[in-house]
Each structure stands twice: as structure tokens, then as C-alpha cells.
């Protein structure tokens, strides 16, 4: 079990050796051409072709070229292999090609091959309605916990001081702004939300994904009764937060432009594989890839 940042080499090894083995398990709606975008975050900013444009530590790439009215014309990735190639060598396989905003040509760089610290896909989708995802973050749970433990005596310290005072920074995992118990609590909340989706919102297709530092809960039914637009999602957020008392991040659910961590991608800050999970008993400490040396 490792709770540290993955090295460049480990990231490369994960996407070269281990990640391809999981592709058959990807949720069906995650295909080369379904999500409207894929996105990659880098640990260090990477230059682009045009000199005046600032270096990028986060890039979004459309899965389709579109015409003036926004309709699909030509796909950017022929199959998921192309997406995998883009994830493994983003600069070499940038769909933007020789466009001036594409990542800079590896041939001319000292550090030619940026590695993805995180990989995302867009919740907005070409072939199905906008994917509904609720985000529960262990960091938020830890902060609330620290607030309750420490702030009762009325001081208003900043987050780190608060977490420190509550003993959370010292608890395992060392140096992270949450303790393992906060991750475990996030996972429990995730399954509570799944039950709410199934019991009160008539959902048949749900999924809880361990996200590295919390969970994502999906409501995947696509029938008209479950096509929640932004306004319906705001209502869902308010209900989850207030009626059901679940500490979610409401911004994520109701923002169509959001990207989510790709299942089976590597959360490189914690050496954890993002993955669908089946039970609140899931142990986050078991999510370390094989390629990571303990």
C-alpha cells in the first residue's frame, strides 16, 4: 500500500502495462467517440506550438470535429486504442496535430513527453444524455470534521491550521488533508447516495466509483424520466445536501462542462486506481497498481 505521488516512470509503466488490461471493464458509455471530450492534467506545464500562448498544465480535446452549427463531422479518435495512445504520449498523439494550440513538437523539446497526472472524460455526451455524477470528497469531510472538533471554541483558523489542530494532518495518510477514516466515510456516503438513487429516484443503473480521494456516484438511467437538466440537478443537489444530509460538491452535478476522472485511470497524487466499487467495505488502500513499488 502506497500513499504518495507516483513517479513519471510509474505513471508511464501503469498506462503501458496495467491500464490496457482494464479497458474491457470500462463503463459502456465511455468510448472513443461518446464523451464529448477527453482531458489530461500534467504535473508540470507543457509548452504549446505557438510561442505567445502560455504553457498548459491541463488540456481538453474534443472527440469530434464539428461544423458551424455544432454538429459532429469527423471523429478525432478511430477507436479507444487511439485514446490510450493519447493518454500515454499526449504530445506525440495530440488530436490537434500541427494546430498552433497543440502541445509542442516533442522533437524540439528537452522534456518531450509529458505524463498524465490525471485523465478525465467529459460528462456531456454525444450518444446519451449528460451523465449524472455526484462528487463526494474526503477533503470536504475532513474539513467539516475538523470544523466540528476545533471551531466550537469560535476561532477562525485557516484550513491547514484547523486540520492540524484536529490531528488530521498527522493521521495516516501522512501529509494529506484527510485521514483514511475520511476516505472510508466518503465511500459510505457514496453507497448511501446510491441507495437514495435507487429507492427514491427509481434508478436502475447506478455506479459508485472510488475516485482516489473520495467517490463519484452515478445515476445512469437514460429514460425521459431521468433526463435531469441543470435545474433538476440543482434540486437534486439541494435535496442531497439538506434533506438527506450528504456532504456532496454541488457544483459538479449541475455543471455540464465538467470532466470526471476516467475509471481505471491513475490518480497519480495518491498512487490509486480510480475504479467502480461494489461495497462500502471497499478498502481504498487496496487500490494501488501492481506497477508501483511499495
Amino acid at each position: 500500500m502506497t500513499w504518495r505521488q507516483a513517479t513519471r516512470e510509474e505513471i508511464y509503466a501503469y498506462y503501458a502495462e496495467e491500464f490496457p488490461r482494464y479497458l474491457d471493464y470500462l463503463p459502456e458509455f465511455i468510448t472513443a467517440t461518446g464523451p464529448k471530450q477527453y482531458a489530461i492534467a500534467f504535473r508540470e506545464s507543457h509548452p504549446v506550438r505557438k510561442d505567445e500562448v502560455p504553457d498548459k498544465d491541463f488540456i481538453r480535446r474534443d472527440t469530434w470535429q464539428t461544423d458551424a452549427s455544432g454538429d459532429r463531422t469527423t471523429p478525432e479518435f478511430d477507436d479507444f486504442e487511439d485514446v490510450v495512445e493519447f493518454i500515454r504520449h499526449p504530445a506525440r498523439n495530440d488530436p490537434l496535430g500541427r494546430n498552433k494550440f497543440a502541445l509542442a513538437d516533442p522533437e524540439v523539446l528537452e522534456k518531450p513527453d509529458p505524463r498524465p497526472d490525471a485523465v478525465y472524460y467529459a460528462l456531456d455526451h454525444w450518444e446519451r444524455p449528460w451523465v449524472l455524477l455526484v462528487d463526494i470528497d474526503a477533503k470536504e469531510i475532513a474539513r467539516d470534521r475538523a470544523d466540528e472538533m476545533v471551531s466550537a471554541n469560535g476561532d477562525d483558523r485557516d484550513d491547514d491550521a484547523l486540520l492540524d489542530a484536529a490531528g488530521i494532518l498527522d493521521a495516516a495518510p501522512d501529509g494529506y488533508p484527510y485521514a483514511f477514516e475520511d476516505v472510508d466515510r466518503a465511500i459510505e456516503y457514496g453507497f448511501e447516495v446510491r441507495d437514495i438513487f435507487e429507492d427514491d429516484f427509481d434508478a436502475e443503473e447506478t455506479m459508485v466509483v472510488y475516485s482516489g480521494q473520495g467517490v463519484h456516484v452515478y445515476l445512469l438511467d437514460t429514460d425521459p424520466a431521468h433526463r435531469y437538466d441543470e435545474q433538476s440537478r440543482e434540486v437534486l443537489n439541494d435535496l442531497l445536501l439538506e434533506t438527506y444530509d450528504i456532504p456532496i460538491d454541488p457544483v459538479v452535478t449541475a455543471d455540464r462542462r465538467r470532466v470526471a476522472r476516467l475509471p481505471y485511470s491513475l490518480h497519480a497524487d495518491v498512487c490509486s486506481i480510480v475504479q467502480p466499487i461494489e461495497s462500502p467495505a471497499f478498502d481504498a488502500r487496496s487500490a494501488t497498481p501492481e506497477v508501483i513499488d511499495e
Binding site: F201, D202, P224, A225, H226, D229, S232, D238, E242
Partner: protein, 507 residues
Amino acid sequence: MSPSTPTDDEDIAYRVAALPLEYGETRINQLFTRGYDRYVVDGEDQPDDLVNDVERFGTAAFKEQVRADVAEEPFVDEPRTLAVLATLSAICVKEQPKFEHASPRNIQVLYDIRELYVNNLASLIRAHADGSLQQDIADVLYSKEPGEDGPHPGRVCTGITEIPEFGDGLYLEIPMAAASRKCLVRAEGESSTGSDGGEILTRVNDNKLYVPVGDFDSKYRDYAERAFKKLLRVQEDGLSDDQLSWLTTNESAITERIDRFLETGHHERIWRNWDRGERTIRVLRRALSDAPDDVAQKGEFHTAKELYRAVEAYEAEDEWESSVTDWISSPSSLAKTLADHESHSAVTIDRDGRVNTYRIGRAGSGAEQIEVREIEEIFELPCMANMEERLHEKKPVRKDLYNFARMVMWLPQYQDSSLDEIVADLKDVFARWPWYDEQETEYQVRYEFSNTIDGDTPLPMNCDNDDLQRYCIGQDQCPYSIWGSLPFPDEMYEQVEEESAGPAEQF
């Protein structure tokens, strides 16, 4: 077959009356036509019946109890008639010469008419029992703005039902896919971590929201208030000048009731949000009148604490008085209010002692008092004596007449008199002058009385008025002052500083 209209189909008439903001002028005019049809018997118009009903509706609207009762039991039994009577009543009010320069949003009587309309409409809709109309209304009240996915297909409200597991009461059923924050009803008056206040009362089941029906009622009242504005506009646009003048000529009950409010100084029945300082001082006067003499008296100096005790003991009679007694929360807040309104002619503050003392009374001018039993006694004022003399030589200019008529009108003995009595007495006075013509004087006096300034009864001129300077012997020479010497009632002084500052609501 031509499509049904509100003129020939009762269900559509109900729908247009319930949701006029969703319809154009044509449909609303068809609703009015259906309403007017009720005043046609055997092909003959019954205009007297219409005017009687308009007067009955308009005058009933001024009674608080009637307005409240109507929420339970309709006063008018059909929406088409309600639409006609409420709008025509409001037009009778708006057409009054005394409101000519007033903004409708400051006229309280229009709000009273609207309240009677809204309450009446709500109870009519409740009585129209099969629920489909309520469902139509809920579709409008709870519909969301079209989003990126386009409008929600299908009904917003799919039922009105009881859900035993949620407890007593009816709930509106709204599918989650049609939901917006409009559907999240919150408890009032509770603090909560929620962004908008109290606990969420809307429930969830079966992928649907269940909204307590009480929320429908309050949302619909807001809607109906806006609906009334539209109905009124369409009615106003639709009436010809002849119809309008026929209506205002034949209506008298509403006008008389408003005149009576004005004559008896019930400004709060006529105007909204009249000046806060004025209201405070009026309540103080009433509180002092009610207080035992050993507690506090009008015209005497008292500490803020003594005045506050009188206010505390005062039993407010109506809403505006309660709002005043509510905001006077302590002796110090009273002291501050009085300091803020020190320039008011009725407020005198003595700061010489250890604690400040306050006198609420008439303006302390020190002027010699004149008791006026007969109008002629006004001529004791040197300026009025000068005018009297001049009027023997020349016809009056309009300002002179105006001044004279206003001064008389504010005298206490004429406060409860009819206009006819005042006119008769004034004619007796005017008859002394050589230019007197009975008809002309009668017309001129009545004209002055019908004139208002932004809806307020105009004040008599005071000594600083430029037009009076022609007759003035010089204020420093004169032992009198017009406002200080004549026995004008409190209401006159209360109106002195009255300013109108209404809310942004409009008709």
C-alpha cells in the same frame, strides 16, 4: 367547427380568468364580453345593474373584514363577472380627479380592490372542484425556464394528491425531470444551513417531487396580483372615452366613500406608505390622548421615557398603527425618531434640562389664537382683512378663491360637513362682494374642492406664501400667523410634511 372561446365556453372562461398572463388581449376581451353578457337580459342592456354591482364591489373592497371573508366564500360567483367588476371599480378610482396626479402605486384603495379580487378568485378556483384547473395553474406556476435540453416535454404537474406517509394535506406531484428550485418549498421562520432559509418541506418519492399545496396557494396569490394588473390594462385599453365617462358619471358610491375618508382624515385608507415621521407623530398624538393625564398629555413637555410609556400602553387600531408602535422599540428609538423629525411643526425638543424633553402638539408659533365660529371671523387676520377690502373693489384672482376655500375647508366645524354645506356657507360669505354670481361661485368653489395635489388635500396657504404677500402687513408686525392662529385640526399639521414615497409595485 370554430374553436371555443371564453365567450362561449365556461371552462375556457375559467382558464383565461385564472391564468390571464398566459393569454393575449383577444382572449381577455372575450372574457370581459362574457362578463358583460350577464348584464344583458332579453337582449336589453342593464346598465343600472352593472353600475350597482361595480359600486357594491368597490365599496366592499374598502372593508377589511369583507376582503378577508372572501378568501373562504366568494363575493362574486363567477370569474367573468369578477374580472369585469374588479377592473371597473379600479377604473372608477383611478379616474377620480383627486388622484389625477397621483401614482397608482401610492393609492391604497386600489390595493384593497385588488385584494378583494385576488381572494375572490382564489376561492372561486378552489370551488371549481375537479382539480384539472388547479393542475393547469400548477403547470404555469412551477414550469422551469427552458434549458439547453429545451423545454420539459409533458406536464409539469402530473397530479394533486394525498400521500399518507407524508402526513395530512394535499401535494402537487412534479416529476424530477420537470423540477426546478421553484418546487423546493421551505419552512418559514427557521434558521437552517440551507442557502434559502428553512427546512425543505418538499418530499421525494418514486422519482417525483411532492410539493405541499399551501405553496401553490401563496404562489398563485402572487400570480393573481400580477394578473390583475394585466386585466386592468386590457379593460382600460378596451373602454372608449364615452364608456369611461358614462361609468364615472353614473358611479357615485365609490367616490363618496373615498371623499369621506379624506374628509375625516383617514389618509391611511387612501394612501400607502405615507410619511413615516407623520405616522409616528399621529400615533404619538393618539397615544397621548388615550393616556391618563398623570402619565402624559398633548402639548406638554415629556421625557422620551414618559412618551414611550404612553405608546406602550396604546392599543393600535390598525395595521399602519401597529407598524409604528412596533418600530418604536425603546425610549431611545423614540427619542431618535423625534430628533429625526424635529423640523415637524408638531415636535418641539427642549435640550436645556438634564435630559431632553419633547412636546407633541400644535406648532408652537406663539401666535395669537383666533376662535372661528363663523367664517367671517377669519377676517380678523390682517391679511384676510386686506383681501376682504380689496374684493369689494375687484373680482378675485383664482389664488384668492383657492386660499379662501381651503382655509374654510380645514376649519374643524367643516371637517364632517358635506360639500353642499360648505358651498352654501361660502356662498353666504361671497354674496357680500359686488361681483358675486351664485352659479359662478358655486362652480368655482366646487372646482377648488375637487382639486388635489398628488392626491393630497391641498393645505391652506401659510404666511410664507408668495401670493399672500400682496395682503401681508409684514410677519414681524403681525401678532397672528395663519397656521398658528386658526384652529386647524391635527390632520392639517400632519399633512404638512407628508411626502409620498411608495414601493415599486405598480398597477
